[in-house]
Structures are given as structure tokens and as C-alpha cells.
Symmetry: C2
Subunit: 360 residues, 2 copies
């Protein structure tokens, strides 16, 4: 079982910028936003035949685990790692890593998410296979996406010298992780030939990651070891909940990757997109001659272009709309310009503040 | 019963620019667009105590007469004049005029409509009383509205010399009826001191109107006399339907008023507005601090101003909307900028062309 390959799918969160479709009881991951299958099903499907469902782990909150188990992906219930509360990606991955280490100390793990769009599944698996071969050599491998635009919505990875090749892909030393840049900087990055988007996907030996974690987040690592000591004992749940209350939130990028040694990046293209908002769906879904994307609505458009209508099996008539978003979920309607799609989160925040639980 | 005063309310049409709220089975007239009472109820209510329901006549199409009778206005069923088909305002008024002449040859009639907003009902009745006194002297009186803006959506009436005063109002000779002007002309009219909006409301002796009709529309007048000859006989329905098939469409403005003698105008202000589109409702209904008008919706607005939300008891969230219209009727949703409100008719036309009867 030496160097067996596993995937961890991070599936927490609601995806509040996809409100009113995403709700606490129907988070983004279980929505069929792209095809007929949910985002979570799609994330599992596209791994086969490289990774079978029994080799896929999932980290998720208590309130969503049953929803995901019910998705019929074939992932065994024991592979669901339950976070007592969201603490960012570093603790989520670390908790999964000790779970996986107990199952297989030699494990190689790919850290993936449930809410990305990937157009070329075969190309994606090829990159994962390449990353696995490089991770076996001890590198912490990040998947970089060759920029198709000067996006200010993603972090960037700057690469240095060429390290090695695997499965037809080149891997490079990582020089720096760059936070989401301003537009001038993004325009520079997009054409530099040295920068990739940070996809948030990683491949590494579990043992190598945990070693790096002990160096970069020593305080959290002590907490994690308390939890690991209780793994498989009757005290596990109690210890996990107690320790987790004192764990600080941290991202794996900032907490680990930016300070880590031997970090490699594989620049790749496989039609990747972070479905972060309705504006992204307008970009990636099939559109008609006017650039409109119509899903589940009977749409009648007069002078309407580049508009997303996500409906509820009823008529939506639009006149003079351009670059707009109209979402109808039966109990709620959202209307906003495409370039305000990020602000949907403000609506969700206001609904929380005013206690409108029925819409959350 | 000499010179008794009657009102005719023109209540035909669907009001397709108020789709999706206005439908064939719930036309504009029966909608509570302004207050809690329907437009038609409001039109009858505001005449009291000047005119009681038994003195109010209604001209309407066959498909809508039962809807209006069911509105509980107190108007006797015999006062409903049924047009076999819409032929414009001249034939509709003429058919009502002969009905009224049979009931009372000395009748004074006010021609009104069911789909106007009138903010000052008492002032409106005062103007009607003034117009009645001037109509008794033989004038065809039009009610002119003192322009509050250089509107290009209304026709204008140009006045000449002062004729007389009645009930505190001045009446002037009419020099010309002007079609809806372009903006430059409208700006001139709005400040000339000689132009009023043409409200489409008139007051005259029935006998005087019919005499003028015989001169200005002689061909139609002959047809009308055939119908009048059958009034009160068993042949009436057959004759009316047969003759009506050959009647040409004509407006009373173009067919009669522009060519008539002794036409007077009473310039007045009583908070009048023709509720022709959603944009008008946005103007006349009470708005909040951001200029938004919210009716029957639970609205959550982020950076939203001058926007009309007409809802269906569900949540409507808007972000970054300004001067927009969002209408939700349960089975259909309309979204358009305020300045495209006239084009709602295009949606209705397309629904007709594609046979989407359930939305008409």
C-alpha cells in the first residue's frame, strides 16, 4: 500500500454568493449548477478511474455531512471527516491528514474542493497523476492554472527554476505566493509567463505535509497531536470538540504554503474556474446568440444580452437588460448587475442580521 | 330632469403595458394599482356626491363587462353599454351617447376613464361642476391639465381667448389640439402658459355632441342612427353587431374634437396622471427615502434607488438597481429599466404571437 493515492474534497461552506439558490439546507455543493449532477457528485465523478470513491475523503461541517452522504457518490461513510466548526483550510486539511495517516501512514493526498468547475476532466486527472509522481519525491505540489485573463479574484503563484517533469508536465520551484493583486499587477502577472492562478489544490505525502505543519504552525500542531492521540478511542469526539474550540482560523496558503520548503507548482490548463458567484456561471455556462444563459426558466427577452436567468419553471420577461443576473427560486428573487455579483453576500448578511431564517 | 348630469366611464382595454399584473381576466381597471380599491371602483367613488352610481354609465367590451359588474360599485346593470368590439373612443362614446339620449334627451355627460389617477377628488368634482355649467351653454368642454413637466407622452391643448368663468374656474376657447410632441416642442408647451395636457376627459350636452358628430363623422353617424333606431327593440343586438362590423376605428380627439366648433378648455390641476405604464406608478405611488416604491413584496435592497417592486408576498432582493422595475405575479416575473416601461407591450405582443395564452 506504499504511496497509495487519496483525494480529500473540502466540502464545507454554503456558498452564500450563490444565494438565493444556495441555502443552509441546500449549499452550493449539492446544487446542480453546471450539469445535471451536483457540484459534489461532479467532484467525485471526475476523479475516476484515477481515484475510486473508497479512496476519496471529505471534510465537512456537522450540519452538512448528512446531505453529502445522501448524494450517492459511493464514498464510504467512514471517509467523511467532520469539523466541529469552520476554522479555515489549514485546520480542515490537517484534521483530514491525521485521519488519513492513521489509515495509511504512506498516503499521498490530493487536496481538492467541491465547488470548482473543471471543463477537461481527463486533463485534470493527468495533472493529478503528474503531481502525485512529484509528491512521491517529497515536494509539496500546488496546481497552478495558466491565467486566461488578468483576474483580480484569484491569488497567484510565482515560479522559479524548473525542477522536473512527470507524466508530460513540468514542475517548477515556487518563488512566492501572491495575494489577490490589483488590476495593474494582475495584468503584469497574466503575461509574465511566470505566474499561475492559485487553484487551492495541492498534492503531497501526508507525512511531509504534517512535518511542514509542525514547523510552520507549531501551536496548532500541538493541538492537532492531542486530537490524533485520541483517534480511534471513545474520547475522540470529546477531545476533538474541546480542542477545536481553541483552534485559530488559518488558511493553508498563509499558514503553511508561504513558509514551507520544497514547494513545487505544476502550471496547467484544464478549463478550471472557481464558481464563486453568479457572474462566474454566466461566464462558463453555454449561452445563446445574445450571450444569455437561461437555466430552468421560460425566458422572454426583448433587447436582452449577456444576462443570466436562473429560474423556477415560470416565465421571466426581461427588457433592455445587459450584463444582468436574475435568479428566481420560488420563495425569493434576486436581481443585480453582473458586476455586483460579489455583493450577494451583503444580502445574506442582512438576512442573518434581521433573523430572516426562512431565506438562509 | 332638464340638464341632469351623468358620467360615462370608458372602461375597455386590458392595459397591456401593466403586464404581467394586467391580464385578460384581470385587466388594469380591476387592479388595485393605487390604493386598496380597484381603478374602476376608484373612478366611481371619486364622483360622489356630485354623481351617484345610478347616474354613471360604463362602456366596456363583452369580455370584461361581468368583471366590472361584479366590482360592487352600485352602478345598475342597465347602465353598462357593451361594445361588440373596440373601435376607438369616438364610436364608444357615440354608442353611449345614444343610449343616454334615449334615457334623457337633455342629458349632460362627462366622459371619463377608469384608468386615470386623480389625487384631489374634491378638486376634480369642482372642475366637473364648472365644466357642466359651461356645457349647459352649448360648449364642448375639455378638461386640460396644467403641465407639471414637459411630457412627450400626452397630447396638448392650445387655448385662445377667455370665454367665461364657472364655479371658480376659467374656460378658454380651444385653438388647437396638438398630438404628442417631441421634447423641444414639449418644453416650449410646458412653459407657454397657453398649453394644457389633453386629459381625454370631456363634458357636453349629449345632443350637442351628437350634432357635432353628424357634421365631423357623417358616415359613422349614419351607422349610429341605424343602431339608435333599433334601441329598445328585439332587433337591437343583431343590428348593433352587424353595423359594428363595418364601423371604422377612430379617436374622439381626431374624429370630432379637432374639427368641432365651440370647443372650450378648462385648465385645471387635480393631481391627474394617466397610469399608462409601470413608470407612471413609480412616479405617483408613495416612495421611501431612496425613492423606491415597494408594493406587496418583502424587499431587501442593497444600493437600490428609484426602483418599483410590485411583488407577490415573497422576498425580492435587489443590488445596484437604479430606475428599474421588478414585477412578480407568481407565475411571471418582469424586469426592465424604467425608461423601457413602454416596451412591456412588446412582451405581450410576443406572448400573443407565440400562443402563450396562460400568460395573457
Amino acid at each position: 500500500m506504499s504511496n497509495h493515492f487519496y483525494a480529500l474534497i473540502m466540502a464545507g461552506g454554503v456558498g452564500s454568493r450563490l444565494w438565493p439558490l444556495s441555502r443552509q439546507k441546500s449549499p452550493k455543493q449539492v446544487l446542480p449548477l453546471v450539469g445535471d449532477r451536483s457540484m459534489f457528485q461532479g467532484a467525485v465523478d471526475r476523479l475516476q478511474p484515477l481515484l475510486l470513491p473508497e479512496d476519496v475523503y471529505v471534510v465537512v461541517g456537522e450540519e452538512q455531512v448528512e446531505l453529502l452522504k445522501a448524494e450517492g457518490t459511493g464514498i464510504p461513510d467512514r471517509n467523511f471527516v467532520i469539523e466541529p466548526a469552520g476554522r479555515g483550510t489549514a485546520p480542515a486539511i490537517a484534521l483530514s491528514a491525521i485521519t488519513l495517516r492513521k489509515h495509511d501512514p504512506e498516503a499521498i493526498m490530493a487536496v481538492l474542493t467541491a465547488d470548482h468547475f473543471i471543463g477537461d476532466a481527463e486533463g485534470f486527472r493527468d495533472v493529478l497523476q503528474a503531481a502525485r509522481e512529484i509528491a512521491v519525491q517529497g515536494q509539496l505540489v500546488t496546481l497552478g492554472i495558466t491565467p486566461s485573463s488578468p483576474s483580480t479574484g484569484y491569488g497567484y503563484i510565482e515560479r522559479g527554476h524548473h525542477l522536473t517533469n512527470a507524466n508530460g508536465y513540468a514542475a517548477y520551484q515556487v518563488v512566492a505566493f501572491r495575494e489577490k493583486p490589483d488590476l495593474v499587477t494582475a495584468k503584469h502577472f497574466a503575461v509574465s509567463g511566470r505566474h499561475s492562478w492559485n487553484s487551492g489544490m495541492f498534492v503531497w505525502k501526508v507525512s511531509r505535509f504534517l512535518k511542514e505543519l509542525s514547523r510552520t504552525m507549531p501551536e496548532f500542531y500541538q493541538q492537532l497531536m492531542e486530537i490524533e492521540a485520541a483517534l480511534g478511542t471513545p474520547a475522540f469526539d470529546r477531545v476533538l470538540h474541546e480542542v477545536w474550540q481553541t483552534v485559530k482560523s488559518q488558511t493553508v496558503d498563509f499558514g503553511v504554503m508561504e513558509k514551507a520548503h520544497d514547494v513545487a507548482v505544476i502550471p496547467a490548463e484544464f478549463g478550471w474556474n472557481d464558481i464563486g458567484s453568479w457572474a462566474t456561471l454566466l461566464e462558463i455556462l453555454d449561452n445563446d446568440a445574445q450571450g444569455n444563459v437561461i437555466r430552468r426558466a421560460e425566458h422572454l427577452g426583448v433587447d436582452t444580452s449577456n444576462t443570466l436567468v436562473f429560474g423556477h419553471d415560470r416565465l421571466v420577461a426581461t427588457i433592455g437588460l445587459h450584463d444582468m443576473i436574475v435568479i428566481d427560486t420560488g420563495d425569493a428573487i434576486l436581481v443585480c448587475p453582473k458586476d455586483r455579483a460579489q455583493d450577494v453576500k451583503q444580502v445574506v448578511d442582512q438576512l442573518k442580521q434581521t433573523g430572516k431564517q426562512q431565506y438562509l
